[in-house]
Symmetry: C2
Subunit: 222 residues, 2 copies
DNA sequence: CCACATAATACTGTATCCATAATTATGGAA
DNA sequence: TTCCATAATTATGGATACAGTATTATGTGG
């Protein structure tokens, strides 16, 4: 295989697999055929296996000894565990971000929020989804705590295993936008405690929306 | 190499390396010679490399492309980032544990606390250290949140990179014991908010003790 | 004597190969 | 016809071999 990037092959493979898992092309529970995948990618099994080890550490796949590799199935209990945790962590991020943000930071944040607004106006779901992710990530970066950021992103990867997670946002686009406006206002006014609580509740609100979809389709892994 | 356990070789190797890193036999910043290590363990480079990928995901080593593998160096900034995070997380654990603990759970917890007391009485540092870890872990398990537990343990692994982290406990054994007594009392009385705050402060108190040692020996990775 | 370039060495990264264990299919017996 | 046992096939885990790149050392020129 022709190598271009300075990054190792196993990392590229890991990233490609992540995308396929997040896109639910590889659905939870499915077995990953090493040989077929390696052939498909035109690489040997060695870097592929190394990539799978990485994904296993991230919790995206499960490596059963002598049994092979399976995409992780996430349960409702997991969602109930993770969302409150994320709410607490992202809430803390918001509080820290308020304390540390400089005017330039706030401006760039407002810019992202504007993109959220315009995407919502035009009903562009994908763009809304994109800007939403960026908004949250930007706040996490503003918190200035590398490890807080790392923990949140690790958990978010696991959440992405759930198909309903992405679906749920569509149904509550307007509500999510409203909540974002409130958060933005709190950040702007420099009210750390308020920003923390609003962000916290924003996350829990996401979990509730997801719960409503769950009742419709009973599959735990969705 | 003679295989006995049903667990994969790369996992055993990863665990052995973890122990060597935590024991500071492999100090932060040192280069890990794959060939030499593989020879030393009597295995090939393949499982060793897979183990290194896992350790890299855990943050214990850094894999620089085409440059090899180095034990992670942890900075004071990292400690300042991680300790407040741990304080928040373990605080939450304590609060959740209070809400969920049944009388049998409380008894087993008291039993561990007793071991802490007796170890302190006899001045058995190792036993104190051991019981201390078990006490914290037990509370995390009682929280019933698998992901909260996982996040905390991941962060603790990183903290273990710091040599001072283990040393600091020795100097404040009595204080740590006092704090544990208060936490135990709060748990026993079922006061979730109090348990959360005490546990939170207990962790921060640990950071402060560590800071005092830092001033003595200026090396950041110690 | 110092600096730069080139060559050699050594380590990382990838591929191929082999052995072992697990699963499945087939055949025989109850 | 069904269940169990044995054999064959297939996939995983580990070892070895090879290629490419980075680093270091040595030699030559200024």
């Amino acid at each position: 295989m022709t190598r271009i990037a300075p990054t190792a092959l196993y990392q590229e493979v890991a990233e490609r697999l992540r995308q396929r898992i997040f896109a639910h092309e590889l659905t939870p529970g499915t077995w990953i055929d090493e040989q077929k995948l390696a052939e498909q990618y035109g690489i040997s099994r060695t870097p592929l296996r190394e990539a799978l080890k990485v994904l296993a550490s991230e919790g995206l796949v499960e490596l059963k000894p002598r049994r092979g590799c399976y995409v992780t199935e996430i349960s409702r209990q997991d969602l109930d565990d993770i969302f409150p945790l994320m709410a607490m962590l992202e809430g803390r991020c918001a509080a820290e971000a308020v304390k540390r943000a400089r005017s330039a930071d706030m401006n760039s944040l407002k810019h992202i929020h504007e993109r959220l607004e315009s995407a919502a106006r035009d009903g562009r779901i994908d763009a809304f989804f994109e800007a939403n992710q960026e908004f949250h990530k930007r706040i996490q970066e503003l918190s200035g705590n590398r490890w807080l950021l790392s923990v949140i992103q690790d958990l978010r990867k696991v959440l992405k295993l759930s198909r309903l997670h992405s679906l749920s946002l569509e149904g509550r686009l307007q509500q999510s936008l409203d909540e974002h406006r409130l958060i933005m206002a709190a950040l702007d006014s420099g009210d750390a405690a308020k920003a923390e609580k609003l962000m916290h509740d924003h996350l829990l609100s996401g979990r509730e929306a997801l719960a409503k979809i769950e009742t419709a389709s009973p599959k735990a892994s969705d």
